[in-house]
């Protein structure tokens, strides 16, 4: 899923206080799962803004709504009636959702309420970790199901750098060295020969380096 974190509250307050009315839109998918921008977070944030406005005697109308997915035209249709009533929209979706809202409402100011951080997993309650960079050419088959592009600070494709120590990364001793994990796993799977193979230079054109990407499925388009 996409993992995100709410922006610092001071930043959100200063955004909201620029307007007389604002719509807080939560998103019911990834950011709900990582407790950053779902219905609950949207409600809490709206109450907080209301309280703050009251305390400072600011005139601020707050509407709130959570849609199933802000990255889908179908679901953001539901925002239309409320959007008409406010000056600005605060999106609690990932960057993709916030952008679709901006696209949908060209005459509204749209603010991001979250910082989108990565594509990752829930390790345990309250802890999320990055696992994928969306490079467009998956090579997990060569690396024992562990991605050195997302999980090695230098995205090295041919083994650990000289800073791998006791299984940890030199950049952050709390992070596992991806290549230590790959090494152990391939050995366990009896695929050690993969370690000797030189993985050729990567074609980054399928990654962000080729410009914004687009997927077209002819079998699905209408």
């Amino acid at each position: 899923m996409i993992v995100a974190e709410q922006k610092p509250i001071a930043e959100i307050i200063s955004i909201a206080f620029k307007h007389k009315s604002i719509l807080v839109v939560g998103c019911g998918t990834c950011v709900t799962v990582c407790f950053a921008g779902g219905e609950k977070e949207g409600k809490t944030l709206s109450s907080l803004l209301r309280m703050k406005a009251q305390m400072e005697q600011k005139l601020l109308e707050i509407e709130e709504l959570t849609v199933e997915r802000q990255c889908d035209h179908e679901f953001i249709e539901k925002i239309v009636p409320l959007a008409g009533k406010v000056e600005a929209i605060l999106s609690l979706a990932c960057g993709a959702g916030a952008q679709l809202i901006a696209e949908k409402f060209p005459d509204k100011i749209v603010y991001p309420g979250l910082n989108t951080t990565f594509l990752g997993i829930t390790e345990k309650q309250g802890i999320w970790k990055e696992r994928c960079l969306g490079c467009g050419t998956c090579l997990l088959d060569k690396t024992g199901g562990i991605c050195p592009i997302a999980r090695c600070a230098k995205n090295l494709l041919n083994g650990p750098c000289g800073g791998s120590q006791e299984g940890k990364c030199e950049v952050n001793p709390e992070t596992d060295c991806a290549w230590q994990l790959i090494y152990e796993r391939l050995k366990k799977l009896g695929q050690s020969e993969c370690l000797e193979e030189i993985i050729p230079v990567k074609d980054w054109s399928t990654s962000r380096d080729g410009g914004p990407r687009k997927v077209i499925r002819d079998d699905l388009t209408l």
Partner: protein
Amino acid sequence: MKTDSNLEKVLASGEFAVTAELGPPRGADPEDIHKKAKLLGDCADAINITDNQTAIVRMSSIAAGILLKQRGLDPVIQIVTRDRNRIAIQSDVLGAAAHGINNVLCLSGDHQKFGDHPTSKNVFDIDSIQLIQMLKKMRDEKKFMSGADIDVAPRLFIGAAENPFADPFEFRVIRLSKKISAGTDFIQTQAVFDVEKFEEWMKLVRKKELHKKTHILAGVIPIKSAKMAKYMKENVAGLRIPDEIVSRMEKAKDVKEEGIKICTETIERVRKIEGVQGIHIMAVAWESIVPKIVERVGLLPRPPIRKEDSNANESKNPNG
């Protein structure tokens, strides 16, 4: 011989080689390079110039290498893949070769987190092994990585590093063998303090006969103070410093002398290990000690550096 590199010549002759490291200045003063070159020139067969080591901005390694070349010395240009993509590196290598620079050491580079610009974006378009492959292709096939032809190919003596003390230990030898199949001509290792561990690694290297396929130079660092020993032990990723070294430095009356002694003892021990063909002295901010160390271990004088062809710049093949 692939090139006119003095280092290649010394290694090919079977002589025990000596290389030394020179850190370029954090400024534009060429005198800093000249001063260090004067210290190192007579006691090293080639001089490594670091490439923004520990991700701290310094004078470009190629530019510093040209200054050494002008003094008739043999530079080893370090190239990290952290800061430049395949386009920039190939371009820089052509430029270096046009100035008669042959030796290139291929590294991935320290992460920018450790440097003076921790908020910068890193590149890592390719890794150090792919860099070796790319340079070999440029030299041997006269082709860029893309497959396009190079009219005058660079003549390169390709080096790489390996760290026998990092983990996973067994992978280190596999990685060395990958670097050799990628095309590395010589290897400079991370600094050896734990000679037993290094011997163990060399045993694995010999078992795979890798020492016959490349030239291995063992790295050493002379330590100046007990504080430095402790700092390196605790803070420098990839270095393995036994407690004994730290306590020897702490107990010593003349700490600098003790540091020199530890270094010369290490050199004498690694020299006896089958498959080690030279040493690489990394006297970080203590370049002045290198002549003494090389003299004490009986490795002076160095074989004379081959005289440059004075018309080299005007010849058809500028890097020849």
